[in-house]
């Protein structure tokens, strides 16, 4: 699995961080998403798919 972001669309909802805190974080100043792990291990994959589906700004692209 490989993750890419359209970070300029991010509205700082933070939902991705609530779901997969080992993979996503937010910048301190404006809350824009930060990728902690672009190729996360298998035990994270379900959570990453869930985060990509739930993101309200279609920021997270998952390539498998």
């Amino acid at each position: 699995m490989n993750i890419t972001l359209d970070a300029d669309k991010c509205c700082a909802a933070g939902q991705c961080v609530l779901i997969a805190p080992d993979v996503f974080d937010q910048r301190d100043e404006d809350g824009v998403v930060v990728l902690l792990d672009a190729a996360p291990p298998a035990d994270q994959h379900d959570m990453v798919r869930e985060a990509a589906a739930i993101c309200p700004a279609a920021v997270i692209q998952v390539h498998e």
Partner: protein, 427 residues
């Protein structure tokens, strides 16, 4: 035998989330997505922000790229309106007369903008819900120094007023409530917002709208002013009517099994009838934790509820379809219906300010704001009902910090306990 089919009605945020989740959770049968707009699913929040501002072009609003939609193998019916649903036979009727026999239906038809009867046929008076609406408003704000009157000072009116000011137009924001967004956010946050809009040069007026004045005849009839109750006349080149919305349930009214008072009424599983579920702005469901029916018009809820409705529909079909629906439902472990118990989330952007809220603010019987910096409009507010804290809002606070406040109300907590939590978090 006709193929197994699930139909999702409404091809926007909630409908797309439902369709994706149906595939992800194992539906391999026919998946029909019906939407009356001509566009593939696009995002609405940027309409009153980046698109109106001119920062984004319409193609950036697409929620999925064409190849991502392709992988869903949809029977996609865009520009097609559903006109009726018979819940007893699960038959969906489309505006071209076609009738679709379905095993399951997810209703995700959202809401439509309300307008004023006096606005009918009057040029220059607009609403803002669709891409076309936003492009029309943008076009009218493309000159310089236009006079815009925004009727309605809820979140949509506030955002549009902010962008129009940033584009250099003369903006008057008219509301029946004295303070912007006060019905949702309470008086203290409303005061901060009023100060912010005034500082940016928006004129605030408190009044009901009595009617419009116009020039010209027939199709050329065009607004020239807004008349307020009490006699004030506000000259206007353009009027945006942002007075709320109406759930798109008209097409469901023929079915005796459905309650369509203020949205489609559902149980805690988002089910409105056997095999019929609802999600997004249109759905009024029983939130088990809050113990009442809620209808949430927020972008985040559309996605979460679309996914929940899909999961619960498949769990029901697994029980009720013979032989897993002739193979239309891939086997999956742990498929079960779960009550939908989200912590609602919404945000709004006005000028450089971000407003974020978690939980339930509507219907609060008390609210209390802690203003951290009045000039920077920085504050945190708590909302409650029946002695419980149910919602929290932050304005001008870094989002990462705001997220930390969510836990205080994720399940309603005694008011004093939550207040204490806010004090500690801000200390």
């Amino acid at each position: 035998m006709s193929p197994r089919r699930i139909a999702v009605v409404g091809a926007s945020a909630a409908g797309l989330a439902a369709a994706e989740a149906l595939r992800r959770f194992g539906w391999t049968g026919t998946l029909t997505l019906v939407g009356d707009e001509p566009h593939p699913p696009y995002d609405r929040p940027p309409l009153s922000k980046q698109l109106l501002q001119g920062a984004w072009q319409p193609d950036k609003l697409h929620l999925r790229a064409a190849d991502q939609l392709d992988t869903l193998a949809l029977d996609l019916r865009l520009g097609t309106r559903a006109t009726g649903l018979d819940t007893a036979t699960r038959t969906l009727t489309l505006d071209d007369g076609e009738q679709l026999a379905c095993d399951g239906v997810i209703v995700a038809t959202g809401v439509a903008a309300r307008t004023l009867p006096e606005a009918a046929g009057l040029g220059g008076v607009l609403t803002l819900r669709t891409l076309e609406d936003a492009l029309a408003l943008k076009e009218r704000l493309s000159g310089t120094d236009r006079r815009l009157v925004v009727v309605g000072n809820g979140v949509l009116g506030c955002e549009a007023a902010a962008v129009a000011r940033e584009l250099g137009h003369q903006v008057t924001l008219v509301g029946r409530e004295a303070l912007p967004m006060a019905r949702t956010v309470g008086p203290q946050i409303g005061e901060l917002l009023a100060a912010e809009h005034q500082e940016h040069g928006v004129q605030l007026r408190t009044a009901a709208v009595d009617g419009f004045e116009a020039d010209g005849d027939g199709p050329a009839r065009h607004v020239t002013a807004v008349r307020l109750a009490g006699g004030t006349r506000l000259p206007a080149d353009t009027v945006l009517v942002a007075i709320g919305s109406e759930p798109a349930v008209g097409w469901l009214r023929g079915d005796p099994g459905l309650d369509t008072t203020d949205g489609l009424r559902c149980d805690a599983y988002c089910a409105a009838a056997p095999g019929v579920y609802a999600a997004g702005d249109v759905a009024r469901w029983q939130h088990p934790v809050h113990g009442r029916h809620l209808r949430v018009e927020h972008r985040m809820n559309a996605t979460e509820q679309g996914m929940a409705a899909a999961r619960n529909l498949l769990a029901e079909l697994e029980e009720t379809l013979p032989d897993d629906g002739d193979g239309a439902l891939a086997p999956a472990a742990g498929r079960e219906r779960r009550p939908f118990t989200p912590v609602p989330y919404f945000w709004s952007d006005q000028y450089g300010l971000k407003i974020q809220a978690y939980g339930v603010l509507n219907g609060a019987d008390r609210s209390e704001a802690t203003v951290l910096d009045p000039d920077a409009r920085k504050a945190v507010a708590l909302y409650g009902r029946d002695g419980q804290a149910t919602g929290i809002l932050a304005i001008g606070v870094p989002p990462r910090r705001t997220r930390g406040l969510r836990a205080l109300i994720a399940t309603p907590a005694p008011w004093e306990e939550a207040r204490e939590g806010v004090r500690n978090a801000l200390a």
